[in-house]
Structure formats: C-alpha cells, structure tokens
Amino acid sequence: MERIAALARLELTADEIERFAGQLTAILAYADQVQQVDTAGADVAAVPPATAWRSDTPIPSLDRDLVLSQAPAADRAAGHFKVPRVLGS
C-alpha cells in the first residue's frame, strides 16, 4: 500500500490505508478473472481507434495571464508558476 501510494504521490490517512487494503485486494481478486481468458486471437489495435496526426505547426495558445490567474501561486509579471524551493534548502 505505502509503495503504491508513494508512486502516486498520494497522501492516505491511517483509516484509508486500513480500509483500502481489504477493498483493493477484493477488487484485484475480482479483476484477476481476465487472467483465465484465452486471448490468442485478440487484436489490440482494434480498440481504441487510431489517433489522427496533425502537422507540428505553432498555433496561438491560451492567454498567459488568464491561465496564471487560476494557479495557486504565480508571478504574473514574470509570467511563471511558483512552486516551493526545489534545489538547495
């Protein structure tokens, strides 16, 4: 549980860890029935459908101020998002 939660950068409460352990085990045990299926004739390219490509040409994007206005922390004058210090301490 802790390993998976760490991979997902997910904080779980003690209560959630306890409840989820049994629930996730039951869900995965149920999902295990896919292991019994003979999939020799399966063509995984059939679904989902192919993705269309487009030319790699720059096009106008969203207004920067408008986007930054939705950020929890931003420096709008400098035009960037702000995050806690990453390097050094």
Partner: protein, 485 residues
C-alpha cells in the same frame, strides 16, 4: 400561459415569436429554485449569465439556430469559460476554466442557453453521485434513493423537468445508468463522435460526452449540435454526421434486434427484467425482429473496465499536483505539496488511483493492463460478430432499479456492478442508448439499453423513439407537494 417544455417546442415557439428566450430562461431558473432544494442536481446556477445570453438571443433572433433559447445544464466536468467547473472535487473547488469545451462552443453556436453546472461523482468516478465532494444528488422518484451516476445531477435536472436537455459524460455507463434510474433518455455516442476537448479527463480511451433528454426528438437535436470533428481532440472522428431526426417515425420494420439471453439469467432484479421484456415487446410491435445473439466475453466487461479505466485515471489525475490550477494544500516543500494536495481527493478517487498505479507498475503491467486490453479487443470482436446478423443489441441498462443512499458506499465492488451492462459499450467504443421502459412495483424507473454499430446513433434514436411511443412514462413526483411534475 404555460410555456413549452420540450426543446423542439421551445425552439419553435421562440423562433415564431410566441415566447421570448428570456421568458423561457426565467421559467427554467424558477423551476430550478422551486425543485432543486431537496434534489441537489446543480452545483452552480449561472442566473445572470443565462439571462444575459437569453436576452442577447432575443435581440439578435438567429431564427435558424437549432437550439434557439433552449435551456441546458452541463455536468460539472465540462469546462465552461468564466463559469466554475469543479468535477465534483475539492481539488478544483474554485477553478474557473480559461476556455470552453468544444461542446460548449457548439451549444453557443446552436443558440442554447447554459443555465448551470450539475453535480457528479468526483472526477466522474462512481455510479451513484454519492462520491461528489459537495454532497449527493437525490432521485426525484424517491428522495431516499440515489439517482445513479456519475452524471446524476444532469439526469435529475432533466427528469425533474428543470431543463429539457443536459450533457453528461461517460467512461463506463455514467450517462446511461443514471438515465435509466431517473426515467429519461441517455446516450453514449460512438467513441470519437463528440470531441473530448474541454472534458476533464478520466479514462481517455473510454471517455465520451453525451446527451440526456426526455424525448428522442430533443435528443436528436442536441446530438446534432455537438457531434462532429474537432482538430483539438486527436481521436475525434471525421465520419459524416447524419440527420439524427430523419426517421423518428415509430416504424422499425426490417430492423433486427439481438438479445444476449445468457447474460440475463442472473443478477437482474425480477421487476427490472419484466419491464425490459415489455420493452422488447414494444420493439417487436413496432416491427423489429428479435434474434438471439451471444456475447461470450461481455461478462468480463467490469473487470476489464476497472483495470483499463483506472490505469488511465491514475495517469490523467497526475496533473492535479497543486501547481497550475486547483487548490494547493502545503507549501513547505515540493514533495509535501504533492502529497497533501492530492490527499484532498475523495476516497473513491484515491482507490482508483491506487488500483491504476498498481496495474501500471513494473512487474504487473503485462499481467493486468496488457491482458485487459486484449480481453477488451475480444469484447469488441463479439459485438462485430453480432452486428453481422443484427442492427442493435438489447439488454437492461442496469441490473436493478435505484438503490438507497449509503447502501453500496462501503462496498466498492458492489457499486461497480451497477455498470455490469453498460461498461462493454465504452470498452468497445460503440454507441449505446438507454430508453425508459416503465416503472417497477416500487414506482422506480427501469431502462432498456440498445448498443449499435459504430456511428449508428440514428438507428438507436429511431428505436428509442418507437419504444417511447408505446411505453408512456409518467413524471416523477414533485418532492415538495407530491403533485405530479
């Protein structure tokens, strides 16, 4: 004077000058005020914006607009520029999108009036709307029961006649299942038929936006407005959009409907089964022929769905990290910010991120994710084979009528089984519709589901219309005064 209630009547009345768009809008807003208190279908009602839009339409009078002045509600995971969009999550509690979804642009072009945003399970993960961070929505047929989900708010807004039309979204049945449980029409279009641009992503290979309506003609008009290709969704399809209202004439002669009887032997409530059988009779008396078909891999839809959808969800929801939008929980370090911000997800979202992260993790990817994708291809192959002899496949939309609030909240697996008949269409990318087929002994709606060939939504609407002509559905009781709506 009583105002028209269907989208087609509203459009015609406004276009001919009998009523104004502003009158219709005020009527819808009054219905929401009078009705929504105990139901909680709406998270946000945009009174000022809707009225301003309606008045603008009255000034400009674009007479050819196909949804002229028609009030519509949108599930709150569909981005609306300038109108809050939370996806039912604390993580996006104060989010106001800087852009609108493709479907919103199309609705504006069609002359529709967006009146508000509807409640849903957090990030569309759930089958009861109980997983919304802002409280559950209740079923207008019985306030002690869930409306289905995840698009429960949109289903209720249409069922309780607050609006004639609403949009929801589906990943495994989130339009059709609440439509069945609330007694309205719900359609999941073919994957690629409606652009996902501006839909907050859950399972990208499964997600699709679709309509709720009370009549097939209204649903045809709404689908007509939102279908079509959009360069901003690379999976959006170039296939031509037909005239969806062309054959709503009640005549199904020549149509062959497949019934996979082996799927119906267990787990279907007797009353729901009986209503479904009456729905089949309605199809037959409209001229359709019933044919037995088999879908050998369909019973695997739920396990496959919960592997594929959650894998995609764990990847899609990685973007909610407290940096670019939404809320941020803790600024003391980068790592702490990630953990604590994402700690605000509700229990169901966390469960699904955990499952998805696990099945994508080293050592398990092939056994779970790749294997599930192979079984998914076999599910599609079953349908392709069935469609060589039939035009659509019929099953009940949900195995039971609406269940009570709280009944399945602590048993995720039981909750997941609400989607046992709906998830296959998402996995196979096929269009599917739920049409009301009567009430159970407890006066709860049941739904008949039809799944069709890719891009054959017109046939599903045609069949649904024929069923509706024969099986009259009363409205739900008004919660306040117990009078009929």
């Amino acid at each position: 004077m009583s105002l028209p209630t269907t989208a087609c009547e509203i459009r015609a009345a406004i276009a001919s000058g009998k009523v104004s768009a502003a009158e219709v809008c005020r009527d819808a807003l009054a219905r929401i005020r009078d009705t929504d208190g105990p139901l909680s279908a709406f998270l946000h009602v945009d009174e000022a914006g809707a009225l301003a839009r309606a008045e603008q339409l009255d000034r400009e009078r674009p007479a050819s607009a196909p949804l002229l002045g028609v009030p519509i509600a949108l599930k709150d995971n569909i981005c609306t520029a300038g109108i809050p969009t939370t996806a039912g999550s604390r993580v996006l509690e104060h989010y106001v999108p800087p852009y609108s979804a493709f479907v919103v642009e199309q609705l504006e072009r069609a002359g529709a009036v967006i009146v508000g945003k509807t409640n849903c399970d957090e990030f569309a993960m759930g089958s009861s709307t109980e997983h919304s961070a802002f409280g559950p929505t209740r079923n207008p047929w019985d306030l002690e029961r869930i409306p289905g989900g995840s698009s429960g708010g949109s289903a209720v807004a249409v069922a309780a006649a607050m609006v004639p039309l609403a949009l929801g979204s589906e990943t495994g049945g989130s339009i059709r299942q609440p439509a069945a449980l609330c007694g309205v029409l719900g359609l999941k279009p073919t994957y690629g038929r409606v652009s996902r641009f501006g839909l907050i992503a859950f399972g990208s290979s499964l997600d699709q936006i679709g309509p709720f309506a009370r009549t097939a003609a209204d649903m045809a008009a709404l689908l007509q407005a939102i279908a079509g290709q959009d360069a901003r969704d690379s999976t959006s399809a170039a296939d031509p959009v037909p005239d969806y209202a062309a054959r709503l004439d009640g005549d199904l002669s020549g149509l062959r409907i497949g019934v996979p009887r082996a799927l119906l032997t267990s787990g279907v409530e007797a009353d729901v089964r009986a209503r479904f059988d009456e729905g089949l009779l309605a199809l037959e008396s409209a001229g359709a022929t019933l044919v037995d078909v088999t879908l050998p891999h369909a019973p695997l839809a739920i396990p496959v769905y919960y592997l594929v959808a959650n894998a995609e969800a764990s990847s899609n929801l990685a973007r909610f990290d407290g940096v670019r939008y939404g809320t941020r929980a803790d600024d003391s370090s980068l790592s702490s910010m990630y953990y604590k911000t994402r700690g605000r997800f509700g229990a169901e979202v966390k469960r699904r991120i955990m499952i998805g992260t696990f099945v994508l993790s080293a050592g398990y990817y092939d056994a779970y994710y790749v294997k599930a994708q192979k079984v998914r291809a076999l599910i599609r192959k079953d349908y392709d084979e069935a469609f060589t002899t039939v035009d659509a496949v019929a099953v009940p939309t949900a195995p039971t009528a609406a269940f009570k609030l709280g009944e399945r909240i602590d048993d995720p697996l039981q909750m997941y089984l609400s989607d046992v008949f709906t998830a296959a269409a998402n996995l196979a990318g096929l269009p599917a519709i739920s049409v009301p087929c009567g009430l159970t002994g407890d006066r709860l709606p049941a739904g008949l589901q039809l799944t069709g060939r890719p891009f054959d939504e017109a046939l599903l609407l045609r069949a649904a219309h024929a069923v509706q002509q024969q099986i009259a559905m009363p409205g739900p009781m008004r919660p306040r005064d117990s009078g009929s709506l």
